[in-house]
C-alpha cells in the first residue's frame, strides 16, 4: 500500500471504541432527567376497525397518571415522512383518528410519573372499536371489493397518477414471440424485522428558553427534526435534536415515530418525557422489511441470450407507506439485474394492506429483486442447458450499455466480480470468460454481442 495513505490499508481504531468497551457510550435511554415522565401507547388490538369511543376515566384515576394525548391534541396529525422530498399525500396518523388500519397502531399516548403507572393506565383505557374486514395479501388487496386501507379509495400508492412504478424499454411482447424459450417464476419474500439491539426511543426535554432538546437514536436526525416541526407546527429552530449514537438501526430507525409525540408530551406537560419502545413494540409495531411477491417472465434464445424480461412486483407496504414507495422505485430500476436485456417491462406496485407498516431495511427493494432474478437466472441456465456461470457471463452488462431505466452503465463490474469469485472458490472458467471485461462493447474483442 502506498506510503502516503494514512487510512486505506490500515486498521483504524474507531473513535467510539473506548466508549463501547467500557460501557461509557451514552445511548439515548442511558440519560435521565429530574422529573422525567414516561410515555406508553394504547395500541389497537385489531387489524382494522372504526374507533367508536375512547374511555379514559379509569386510566385517569391511576396514581401517577399525568395526562393522555389523543389525535385532537396533535396540531398536524396526518403526515408522511417523505413529504420532505415531495412525496404525497399525507397519509399516516401520529395518533389514530376515526379508524385503525393495523394491529398495534397508536391510538392514545399515556404520560405518567413512572413506567409502572404508565403501563397500568394503558391497561385501563377502554376502547370501543367496530371491527372491519381486513386484508393481508398484496394481490387480495388489489381485487375488486377488497377492504380499502387508504383514505383515497384504492390500495396502491400512486406514482404520478399511475398505480405502479413503471419501466418500459424496447418491446417485450414482440421479443417474447421471437424467443426460443419462455422462462417464468414467482418469488415471495417474508417481512424481516431489523431487530436492533437498542429499541427505538427518545427523550424530549423542555429548555427554559422555550426550545426542546430531543435525545434520539434515530438514523435520520433531520428527517426526525423536520417532520416533528411539521407535525407540531413549531419552527425548527425551537427543536434541538441530539443523535448520532445508535444502538443498531439497519433501516429500522429511519421512520419518524417516537420524537413528535414525545416532544408534544414535553410541550404539554413542560417536563422531560421519555418514549422508548419495548422489545415487543420493536418487533410487532415498528416497521419491517416488506413482504414481496415478484413475477418474472423471460424470453431466452437457444444460445442463452435473454431478449426480454417482464417483471410484475408487489411490495406489501402494510397500513402506511413510510419509505416503501422509494423501495419500489429502486426496485424498478434494478429488477432487470446487472444484465444487458434489450426489451424490459417492469410494473412495481406499492400495495397497502392491514399488516404492520414496512419501510427501510438494508437495500430494501433491491435485495428482493436480486433474490428473484438470480434464482431466475439459474432457472434460465437450466432451461438452456448451460451452467450458472455461463448464463451470467453471456448476459452480463458492460460499460456503455443502456439500462432499462435509461441510465448508461458507467461502473459495471459484474464480469470482474465473477472472475474474482471463480478464483476464490477454485472454479476454472473457460478462456473466453477469463478474457472478458466490462469495457464498452465496441472497444472489446471477446465475442460479446452487439
Amino acid at each position: 500500500m502506498s506510503s502516503h495513505l494514512n487510512v486505506v490499508g490500515q486498521s483504524v481504531r474507531r473513535s467510539d471504541g473506548i466508549g463501547h468497551v467500557t460501557g461509557r457510550t451514552q445511548y439515548s435511554a442511558d440519560r435521565s432527567f429530574p422529573g422525567m415522565l414516561h410515555l406508553k401507547m394504547v395500541r389497537s388490538p385489531l387489524h382494522h376497525a372504526l374507533i367508536k369511543g375512547i374511555d379514559l376515566s379509569d386510566a385517569e384515576r391511576v396514581p401517577g397518571f399525568v395526562r393522555a394525548l389523543t389525535a385532537k391534541d396533535v396540531p398536524h396529525n396526518r403526515y408522511t415522512i417523505l413529504s420532505l422530498i415531495g412525496v404525497e399525500p399525507e397519509e399516516e396518523f401520529v395518533l389514530a383518528e376515526d379508524r385503525v388500519r393495523f394491529k398495534g397502531e397508536a391510538i392514545v399516548a399515556i404520560v405518567a410519573e413512572t413506567e409502572a403507572a404508565a403501563f397500568e393506565a394503558v391497561s385501563k383505557v377502554h376502547l370501543d372499536l367496530e371491527e372491519l374486514p381486513a386484508v393481508f395479501d398484496v394481490e387480495e388487496a388489489l381485487k375488486p371489493g377488497a377492504p380499502i386501507v387508504t383514505h383515497w379509495g384504492n390500495n396502491t400508492f400512486m406514482y404520478e397518477g399511475h398505480p405502479c412504478r413503471r419501466v418500459r424499454f424496447g418491446d417485450v411482447d414482440k421479443a417474447f414471440e421471437q424467443a426460443d424459450y419462455i422462462v417464468e417464476g414467482v418469488y415471495n419474500t417474508s417481512p424481516i424485522e431489523q431487530a436492533p439491539m437498542e429499541t427505538t426511543g427518545c427523550i424530549a426535554v423542555p429548555e427554559a428558553n422555550g426550545r426542546y432538546i430531543v435525545y434520539t437514536n434515530t438514523q435520520a436526525l433531520y428527517f426526525s427534526l423536520d417532520n416533528t416541526s411539521i407535525i407540531l407546527q413549531i419552527p425548527g429552530n425551537r427543536l434541538h435534536f441530539i443523535g448520532g449514537t445508535v444502538g443498531g438501526g439497519f433501516g429500522g430507525k429511519v421512520d419518524v415515530i417516537v420524537e413528535p409525540i414525545a416532544t408534544l408530551a414535553a410541550i404539554l406537560t413542560n417536563r422531560p418525557v421519555r418514549f422508548t419502545y419495548s422489545r415487543s413494540e420493536e418487533m410487532q409495531v415498528s416497521s419491517t422489511r416488506s413482504a414481496w411477491r415478484i413475477y418474472m417472465k423471460d424470453g431466452v434464445m437457444k444460445d442463452g441470450r435473454i431478449v426480454a424480461r417482464k417483471v410484475t412486483s408487489y411490495a406489501d407496504s402494510g397500513a402506511y407507506s413510510r419509505q416503501t414507495p422509494y423501495a419500489l422505485t429502486k426496485h424498478a430500476a434494478n429488477a432487470a439485474g446487472p444484465y444487458n436485456i434489450p426489451n424490459v417491462s417492469i410494473d412495481a406496485y406499492c400495495v397497502y394492506t392491514n399488516r404492520q407498516p414496512s419501510s427501510a431495511m438494508r437495500g430494501f427493494g433491491i435485495t428482493m429483486a436480486s433474490f428473484a432474478l438470480e434464482v431466475q437466472m439459474d432457472k434460465i441456465a437450466e432451461r438452456v442447458g448451460v451452467d450458472p456461470w455461463t448464463i451470467r457471463f453471456i448476459n452480463a452488462y458492460r460499460n456503455g450499455d443502456m439500462k432499462p431505466h435509461r441510465k448508461l452503465a458507467e461502473d459495471a463490474t459484474l464480469i470482474e466480480t465473477m472472475q474474482a469469485a471463480a478464483t476464490l472458490v477454485g472454479h476454472e472458467l473457460p478462456d473466453e470468460f477469463k478474457a472478458m471485461t466490462s469495457a464498452p462493447r465496441d472497444a472489446s474483442h471477446d465475442g460479446g454481442r452487439e
Binding site: 486498521s11 481504531r13 474507531r14 467510539d16 471504541g17 473506548i18 466508549g19 463501547h20 468497551v21 467500557t22 460501557g23 461509557r24 457510550t25 451514552q26 445511548y27 435511554a29 442511558d30 435521565s32 409502572a116 431489523q194 431487530a195 436492533p196 439491539m197 437498542e198 429499541t199 445508535v246 444502538g247 443498531g248 438501526g249 439497519f250 419495548s278 422489545r279
Partner: protein
C-alpha cells in the same frame, strides 16, 4: 407495601438502595445508581445486553428482582474497568473491532469474563456455547469470538509472567 431498602455489594463496595417492590436489578443499576453500562435490549432475558455477574455467575439483570440479590456480590462492566487502561477483554474487543454499534458489548464482555473465570483456556466451541444468549446484530460474531480467544491468550501470558 412501601419501598424497602436493599443492600448488596457492587464492584467491591456496599450499596444501599430504596426500591419499590420487585424493581429489577437492571433498573436499579441504570436508573438509581447511574450504572448504565448494563444495557436494556429486551427486558425479556432474550438478548444478553444486561448480563451481570451475581457471585461470579452470569445472570440477566432484567429478570432479577433486586431483592433477590440482597447481600450478594454483583459485578458490572463498570466494576471490571480499571481506573487506568482497560481490562484484557476490553482491550481485545477494541483491537479485534468486536463491535459496531456497541450496544451488546457490555453484556458480551461480562459473559466472556464469566467464561474466562471458569475456564481460562476455552475452545472456540466453548466460547460460542457461552455466548449463545448474547445477541449481536452487527458483527456476525466472528470478531467477538476472536476477541475472547485473544483475551484468554493475553491473560494467560500475564499470568505466566506474574508466576515467574
Amino acid at each position: 407495601m412501601a419501598s424497602t431498602i436493599v443492600t448488596f455489594e457492587l464492584g467491591g463496595r456496599e450499596v444501599e438502595v430504596m426500591v419499590k417492590p420487585m424493581t429489577t436489578l437492571q433498573s436499579v443499576l441504570r436508573n438509581q445508581l447511574g450504572f448504565t453500562a448494563t444495557k436494556e435490549g429486551c427486558r425479556q432475558g432474550g438478548c444478553g445486553s444486561c448480563t451481570v455477574l451475581v457471585n461470579g455467575e452470569p445472570m440477566m439483570s432484567c429478570l432479577l428482582p433486586v431483592e433477590d440479590v440482597a447481600g450478594q456480590r454483583v459485578t458490572t462492566l463498570e466494576s471490571i474497568t480499571p481506573a487506568e487502561g482497560l481490562h484484557p477483554l476490553q482491550r481485545a474487543f477494541l483491537d479485534a473491532n468486536a463491535f459496531q454499534c456497541g450496544y451488546c458489548t457490555p453484556g458480551m464482555v461480562m459473559i466472556s469474563k464469566a467464561l474466562l473465570d471458569h475456564d481460562p483456556a476455552p475452545s472456540d466451541d466453548d466460547i460460542r456455547q457461552a455466548l449463545t444468549g448474547n445477541i449481536c446484530r452487527c458483527t456476525g460474531y466472528r470478531p467477538i469470538v476472536r476477541a475472547v480467544q485473544a483475551a484468554a491468550e493475553a491473560m494467560s501470558d500475564d499470568a505466566g509472567e506474574q508466576a515467574r
